[in-house]
C-alpha cells in the first residue's frame, strides 16, 4: 500500500518535473532581469500595436459595408464584400494588377540576369578600373532614381522613335531594373567572394567554360542571395508610386500603387474603402512570390562549406 504512495506522480503532458536539472545555457533570471524582460515586452507589444493597428483598421474598413467614400471611425461594422466589388467593377484594378505583375516579373528577370553577370565579373575577374567602377556604382546608387525623370522622358522619346512599340511601361521596367543593378551587384559580389575560388578552378579542370562555371557551380551556391535580390526587385514596382504616376499618363496603364493612389487623391474617383481593399490584395502576389522563392531563400551556403 505504501508502495503506491511512493510512486512518482504521473506527469501531465509528459512534461518534466520542475526539480529537473537546469538545462538552459543562460544564467537564471534575477529580479533586475525580470524587470528588464517586462520592459522589453512592453516596448515590443506597443511597437506591435503601432504596426498592427492601422493594418487592422484597413482590414476592418475594407470589409465594412457601412463605409462610404471616406473612411470614418466609430462606424457600425457590417461584413460584406461591397468594396471589393466596387474595386473590380468601377476601377481599372485588374488592369493595374496585370500591369504591375508583368512589370515586376520582367524587372525581376532583368535584374537577376544582369546582376548575375556583373556580380560574377566583379567577384572573379581582374580588370582595369575594377575598384574605381565599383566605387562609381555605389556613388550612383546614392542618387535617387527620380531625379533622372526628365532624362527618362528624353530617353523614351529617343528610343520610341526607331522602336515604336517601346512603351512608357517598358521604360519603367528599364528604370527599375537599371536602378537595382548597382546596389545588388555590390551585394552579390560580396556574397560570391565568400565562395572559394578553388571551386572555380576545380570546375575549370573538369571542363567548364566561364558560363558553365557560373551556371552549374556558382549560381546554385549563391542562390539564396539571388532569391533575395529577385524578391526585392519583384516588390519594387508594387511599392513605387512616384515614377509610374509621373511617367504613365493613362489610368489603365498605371501600376497598382499608382492606380490605388487615384482612389484617395483624386476627388472624381475618391473611394477610400476600395483603396483599403485594393491595398490588402497587393499582398497576394508578393506572398505568392515569396512562397515560390522560399525554398531558394534558405539552404545554400549553410548546406555546404568547402573546408574539412
Amino acid at each position: 500500500m505504501n508502495q503506491t504512495a511512493k510512486k512518482p506522480k504521473k506527469r501531465l503532458f509528459g512534461r518534466k518535473d520542475k526539480s529537473d536539472v537546469y538545462l538552459s545555457d543562460r544564467p537564471p533570471l534575477s529580479t533586475a532581469g525580470i524587470i528588464g524582460l517586462i520592459i522589453t515586452y512592453v516596448l515590443l507589444i506597443s511597437w506591435a500595436v503601432v504596426v498592427i493597428w492601422p493594418l487592422f483598421q484597413m482590414v476592418k474598413s475594407a470589409f465594412n459595408e457601412t463605409q462610404f467614400q471616406y473612411i470614418t471611425s466609430g462606424q457600425r461594422f457590417e461584413f460584406g464584400l461591397k468594396h471589393f466589388k466596387a474595386l473590380f467593377e468601377e476601377t481599372n484594378y485588374l488592369k493595374w494588377v496585370w500591369n504591375t505583375i508583368w512589370i515586376a516579373l520582367v524587372t525581376m528577370g532583368l535584374t537577376v540576369l544582369f546582376v548575375s553577370f556583373t556580380g560574377y565579373a566583379y567577384s572573379r575577374f581582374r580588370f582595369r578600373g575594377k575598384k574605381f567602377s565599383l566605387m562609381g556604382l555605389m556613388l550612383i546608387q546614392t542618387i535617387p532614381t527620380f531625379v533622372g525623370i526628365t532624362a527618362y522622358y528624353a530617353m523614351h522619346q529617343i528610343i520610341s522613335g526607331p522602336v515604336p512599340f517601346f512603351t512608357r511601361q517598358m521604360m519603367l521596367v528599364l528604370i527599375y531594373a537599371g536602378g537595382g543593378i548597382a546596389g545588388n551587384t555590390f551585394i552579390l559580389k560580396n556574397y560570391m567572394d565568400s565562395v572559394s575560388t578553388d571551386l572555380d578552378d576545380a570546375a575549370k579542370i573538369d571542363g567548364c567554360s566561364y558560363m558553365q562555371t557560373y551556371r552549374l557551380i556558382i549560381m546554385p551556391i549563391v542562390r539564396p542571395m539571388l532569391a533575395i535580390i529577385a524578391l526585392w526587385s519583384f516588390m519594387a514596382p508594387f511599392t513605387d508610386v512616384l515614377l509610374p504616376t509621373v511617367l504613365l499618363t493613362k489610368n489603365q496603364d498605371l501600376t497598382l500603387a499608382a492606380g490605388l493612389r487615384t482612389l484617395i487623391s483624386d476627388m472624381r474617383t475618391l473611394n477610400q474603402p476600395a483603396y483599403a481593399a485594393g491595398g490588402l490584395l497587393i499582398a497576394v502576389p508578393i506572398v505568392v512570390m515569396f512562397m515560390l522563392l522560399q525554398k531558394q531563400l534558405i539552404g545554400g551556403l549553410a548546406s555546404g562549406s568547402v573546408k574539412g
Binding site: L199, A202, K204, I205, G207, G304, G308
Partner: protein
C-alpha cells in the same frame, strides 16, 4: 607521361618580383614527385602552372613531347586534388564524382561504372547520395580523390591534400595515396610543406625555396647528401646539429673549441682546399656514439630527455653553451642533469662551406 619544365618562371600580375624563376625539372613517367618547401615559396604556384590554372610567364612546359603552355586545363588530361577539397557543395557525392565525365559527355553507363568503381576503392559507397557537408573530413578527402580518379588522368596533381586531416588519418592516407598512385599508373605531382610526407611518399623530391630549386632527387639523397645548409636543416626531424668552425691542420675545430673532428681520409682530401676557411659541420642526431671513448669525443650536459619509445631524444648543452640534440636507443639510461661523453660516426658527417652554404662533402 613525362612532365618537363624548361626554364619556367612566374611573375604575378601586380608584383614586381618573380615568384619563381629558372625552374628546370624533369619528372619521369609514373614518378611520385613531391614538391616540398616552406610556406609561401611558390609550390602551389608551380603546381597551378602545370595544371594550367596560372599562366606561365616564361619558359616551356612539356607533357611528353607536347608543349602545354597554352593548352586549357581540361585538355591537359590532368586531375587535381585541392587542399580545400573544393567539392561542389550543392551536389551529392555521386554527382561530384560524375561531374567531370558528364561535362565530357561521356556515356552514362560508363560514368556510372567508373563512379562506382572509384567509390568502391575509396570505400565511400555508402555516402554516394550524401551532400559533402554531411560527411566527415576524411570522407570528403576521399571524395576529392575519387573525383580525380574517375578521370583516369595522365598526370595526377595534389596540393596539400592531407593537411586538413588529423595525424592518425594522415598517416593512413599517406600509404593509401601511394597505393592509389601505383594502381592508377599515372605520374603524380604532390605539393606539401611537410618533410615527413615528402620523405615517406616520394620517389623524387623537389625542394623549393627563394624561388629556385634547392635540390631534387630521391629521398635518401636528401637525407644523406643535402646539397646545402637549407636542405640539411629542412629535411629530417629532429633538425640536424650544425657547428660553425674552421679547418685547422686537417682537423675541424668549432669556433668555441668544444668540437674537434678528424675527417675520414676521403673527406680530408676534399677538405684540403678549405684549410683555414670557414666550414660548417652537420651531424644528424642519431649519428653520435654513446659513451664514445675512441677518436674524437665531447662532453654534453643533458638538460631534457624526451622518451619516444624506440628512441630517446637528449637535448643537451656543450661546455661552452651550444645546444645539441642527440638520439639514443630507447632502452639506454640517460637522465636529465647528467653529463656524458659522446663520439661521432665520422662517416656520417656533412661539411658545408660557410660562405656559400653549399655542401663540400
Amino acid at each position: 607521361m613525362d612532365v618537363k619544365l624548361v626554364d619556367i618562371g612566374k611573375k604575378y600580375e601586380g608584383r614586381s618580383e618573380y615568384t619563381l624563376r629558372n625552374i628546370n625539372l624533369e619528372i619521369k613517367d609514373k614518378d611520385f614527385c613531391v614538391i616540398l618547401g616552406p610556406s609561401g615559396c611558390g609550390k602551389s604556384t608551380l603546381l597551378r602552372m602545370i595544371a594550367g590554372l596560372n599562366s606561365i610567364t616564361e619558359g616551356d612546359l612539356y607533357f611528353g613531347d607536347r608543349r602545354m603552355n597554352t593548352v586549357p586545363p581540361k585538355d591537359r588530361d590532368i586531375a587535381m586534388v585541392f587542399q580545400s577539397y573544393a567539392l561542389y557543395p550543392h551536389m551529392s557525392v555521386y554527382d561530384n564524382l560524375a561531374f567531370s565525365l558528364s561535362m565530357k559527355k561521356e556515356n552514362p553507363k560508363i560514368i556510372n561504372e567508373r563512379v562506382l568503381e572509384a567509390a568502391k576503392v575509396l570505400q565511400i559507397e555508402d555516402y554516394l547520395q550524401s551532400k559533402p557537408s554531411e560527411i566527415s573530413g576524411g570522407q570528403r578527402q576521399r571524395v576529392a580523390l575519387g573525383r580525380a580518379m574517375v578521370r583516369k588522368p595522365k598526370v595526377f596533381l595534389m596540393d596539400e591534400p592531407l593537411s586538413n586531416l588529423d595525424a592518425k588519418l594522415r598517416e593512413h592516407m599517406r600509404v593509401e595515396l601511394v597505393r592509389l598512385h601505383h594502381s592508377l599508373d599515372t605520374t603524380s605531382i604532390y605539393v606539401t610543406h611537410d618533410q615527413t610526407e615528402a620523405m615517406t611518399m616520394a620517389s623524387k623530391i623537389i625542394l623549393l625555396d627563394d624561388g629556385i630549386i634547392q635540390q631534387d632527387g630521391p629521398p635518401e639523397e636528401f637525407y644523406n647528401q643535402p646539397a646545402n645548409l637549407f636542405v640539411a636543416t629542412f629535411i629530417g626531424s629532429p633538425t640536424m646539429n650544425l657547428f660553425a668552425g674552421k679547418m685547422k691542420d686537417g682537423v675541424f675545430i668549432s669556433n668555441d673549441g668544444d668540437i674537434r673532428i678528424t675527417p675520414t681520409p676521403e673527406d680530408a682530401k676534399v677538405l684540403l682546399a678549405y684549410q683555414d676557411k670557414d666550414v660548417t659541420v652537420g651531424i644528424r642526431s642519431e649519428r653520435f656514439i654513446s659513451g664514445g671513448e675512441l677518436g674524437d669525443t665531447f662532453n654534453a650536459y643533458v638538460e631534457v630527455v624526451e622518451m619516444l619509445g624506440k628512441e630517446k631524444l637528449l637535448y643537451g648543452k656543450l661546455p661552452k653553451g651550444q645546444n645539441i640534440t642527440i638520439s639514443v636507443p630507447g632502452h639506454f639510461e640517460y637522465r636529465p642533469g647528467e653529463t656524458h661523453s659522446f663520439g661521432y660516426d665520422v662517416e656520417a658527417i656533412h661539411y658545408f662551406d660557410s660562405s656559400t652554404t653549399n655542401r663540400i662533402v
